[in-house]
Symmetry: C2
Subunit: 484 residues, 2 copies
């Protein structure tokens, strides 16, 4: 492919794509082919994770110098953690600001998947918007991947709003999730378009893990909490616009809503997954705003064969709008995100295994958790058959501080931490969230820490004892307990 | 005082006051007197810290059940850290949202210092606005402290804007720091006013620490960084609206601007300190928006004897407006806040000594750091004559994650972390920020951690070795180095 010959060693590419949806595919895959005989290294910026094994292949062939702001590929993860490539983990609403302000590398090529480009200079994106608008605006050159695998009916679903420079911009005139405030495509200077590649590669389907016993229990506890909020008069049965991270737990929670009494719901989220469309089909959700549509193969066939039915209930926005603090706080979202581990004071690690190895990235969880009306984190209380406790004395990496975590839910129960001091939080978290096999060990830590006093009692000598136990013995359980 | 007899055990009080300015004084002090013979415990909510030793006296007499969202008193701090009273440390923009949504305890009495109450139901506050508007709106009863010690000329400086409920509110129509968008006083249902107390107790003066060699060097490095930003075209000599935390380092930085080439500056901050008025006097600052005015005795005398000169250049807002993510991001603030310690990856601890004992609280630093155009943290590289290194392998408490920290400055130099991966950050932070006496020790940790691999290499066994050394030996320096 000719386009790949334009790309030189050391360049920075801005690729469309957000959670396997609407990602540039043909050019990156051709670039991987080219790299086999003619090695090069480039910086790769995207919206979020890519599909079609692009991240995997780019990593395998050592194509990437620096990757940001998110990835979710096992091979790339390995190379990142070996220090063989650089990964900059960013709040998903921040990347566009950094590009707009000329803080990151200049983007040499924006490579954008599209349904079409209009005569008056609008790129009509496909199944995601991501960071494409700022890539196109700031890039010196644009390559379009016209992908015929997407239904042309997607046109009209996008709403592209450009914030403008900090200090010169106005408010974002959006007060309801379904407000349309921008253009139906990404404005482009047609002279910047250096090439158009025609492809028909479909998006990679999402890999949905069906609810299991534990995720079902988490969903049940969360719905129980929401019911209490309604009883207290703080919410109605329409709840509030919902944001939900990706993954099996979040998916189970949304499915839990399907059989609940809640109705007239709205979604204001990043990724619109299968469950969102199930909720629309069931008449539970009247509107969904997101930044990408990521579906299983089955659901995609159903949705796209009948897209007219959905289009008026959907809008896709740039990720700095779907994730903008201004809007998240104004609308008062209920944000549901997944934790890797939480500590006894409610700090959350969503990214680093044992404090060191990156899983995927913080994604949009920080944008939502900090600014939502209700910031809810979900996790199973144990992992690896109990060898790992998701409740630990001190999280080995902090992505969300206690100030940004309102409610935590495990299959054991939920805690409402709002307005509680650390010394009120710890006993509750241990009692309600921890797996029974770890309760005593956590209580022992807390009791010993209390002897040190403090606003947030800790015993730094043992703060990571759970993690160190695991590294040494393959389980966080203390020896004595294992033998008992 | 009769008013104190209305206050019952277990009630929740909402007191005006933000960083020793505009705080209710007479009623709380009378309540302390009453408690000597007739003990009671109440929840105390404020804007931020109080003056007139109110927090000290309330703590000494065991008056406080739960205190939020900020305090800065040595006696209260001690009781908090002993677990004798509860303290809920909150982002200063969050408290009002929690009260508005009926999540915290109902406020029984709002006790608000005022210059006057108008016939049509506006309370004209004094030197701070803080959380007073939401206290007045949600409280069942209001007590006014009419304080004649404040100049009546303060009237007109306030701009009270009520956000309204999440999900029902619109955008905040503010695009410049000096926009006026609200009313000149706090709307009150006059029937709720249960009493008016006349006082003439002045605000406690701020205790300004003059710049020393180290804070001067920090200011110099920071200004050097700002100059580089101008050279790169990312800023102009007008910079961008400035937010500055309180404390001697921040004060030195603002004084550094006084003798710089920067001009036509704007302040959009929480507390307006002496340095802000010095900058106005010097013609460097054309406008300052804040939520309180906290001055030394000398500066207060000068400013208030001539307030007409300043009034058109000032506005005082509720803290949820001064600290609102929506506005901070829109205006693109340059935020300068103080760190207690930072780690080799750029995570910041601003609150907890050795991870356990509370100093003051996170205050507004999180509101600003997350949303600013430039999030700058300043700290001296060592404390206690070098027994403590402010640069550590792993901060003992995380208030701000690496994602929210753009630039760090010590007297040794500055680092610009924007767009850098953790493995790029650590060597820079150690090289540019750490005190020479700790560089090798930090490098040794990092080298050892690198052997573990990872996106953020750590050796959890030694992550808190600096802190544990200090607890054991009274210094973070390793034994070997001490002996050398």
């Amino acid at each position: 492919m000719e386009a790949t010959s334009w790309i030189e060693d050391g360049m920075t590419l801005g690729l469309s794509g957000f959670t396997r949806a609407g990602d540039a595919k043909a050019v990156p895959l051709a670039l991987v082919e080219r790299a086999k005989s003619n090695p090069l290294k480039v910086n790769v910026y995207t919206g979020a994770s890519l599909g079609s094994d692009v991240d995997k292949l780019m990593a395998e062939h050592g194509l990437v110098l620096k990757r940001l702001p998110f990835q979710a590929d096992a091979t790339m993860r390995k190379r990142i953690n070996k220090g063989e490539m650089l990964f900059v983990d960013q709040h998903l609403s921040h990347t566009a600001e950094l590009i707009r302000a000329d803080i990151l590398e200049t983007i040499d090529y924006a490579i954008i998947e599209a349904i079409s480009v209009t005569e008056d200079g609008l790129i009509i994106p496909t199944t995601s918007v991501g960071n494409s608008p700022i890539f196109v605006e700031k890039a010196e050159n644009v390559i379009i991947e016209l992908n015929t695998a997407h239904p042309s009916e997607l046109a009209g679903v996008h709403d592209i709003y450009e914030l403008g420079k900090q200090g010169e911009r106005s408010w974002v005139p959006l007060t309801k999730g379904n407000d349309r405030i921008g253009t139906p495509g990404i404005p482009v200077d047609l002279n910047k378009i250096k090439g158009v590649v025609i492809t028909d590669l479909p998006d990679s389907p999402s890999t949905i893990v069906p609810p299991d016993d534990e995720t079902q229990k988490i969903a049940d506890h969360l719905i129980e909490f929401l019911r209490k909020e309604i009883e207290s008069g703080r919410l109605t049965e329409r709840l509030a616009p919902l944001q939900s991270g990706i993954g099996s737990v979040a998916n189970a929670v949304l499915h839990g809503l399907l059989v609940s009494e809640f109705s007239d719901l709205e979604i204001y989220s990043e990724v619109l997954q299968d469950a969102v469309f199930d909720l629309i089909d069931a008449g539970k959700v009247k509107f969904a705003s997101g930044c990408s549509i990521t579906l299983s193969e089955e659901k995609a066939n159903q949705v796209y064969s009948n897209f007219d039915k959905y289009r008026d209930q959907l809008v896709l926005r740039p990720q700095e709008i779907s994730n903008l603090p201004e809007i998240i706080r104004r609308l008062g979202l209920i944000a549901i995100n997944t934790a890797l581990e939480v500590d006894i004071y409610g700090n959350v690690n969503s990214t680093h295994v044992l404090g060191t190895n990156m899983m995927n990235g913080i994604g949009g969880s920080g944008d939502f958790a900090r600014n939502a009306r209700l910031s809810i984190f979900v996790t199973k209380s144990i992992a690896k058959d109990g060898k790992i406790s998701s409740i630990v004395p001190f999280v080995s990496h902090v992505d969300h501080t206690e100030h940004d975590v309102d409610v935590i839910v495990t299959e054991q129960g939920y805690v409402d931490l709002r307005g509680l001091a650390p010394r009120e939080r710890a006993p509750l978290i241990i009692e309600k969230l921890a797996h029974p096999m770890y309760k005593q060990q956590l209580l022992d830590y807390y009791q010993e820490a209390l002897a040190n006093g403090g606003q947030t009692p800790h015993n730094l000598e043992k703060a990571f004892s759970f993690h160190l136990n695991y590294a040494k013995n393959g389980t966080m359980l203390e020896k004595m307990l294992q033998m008992a």
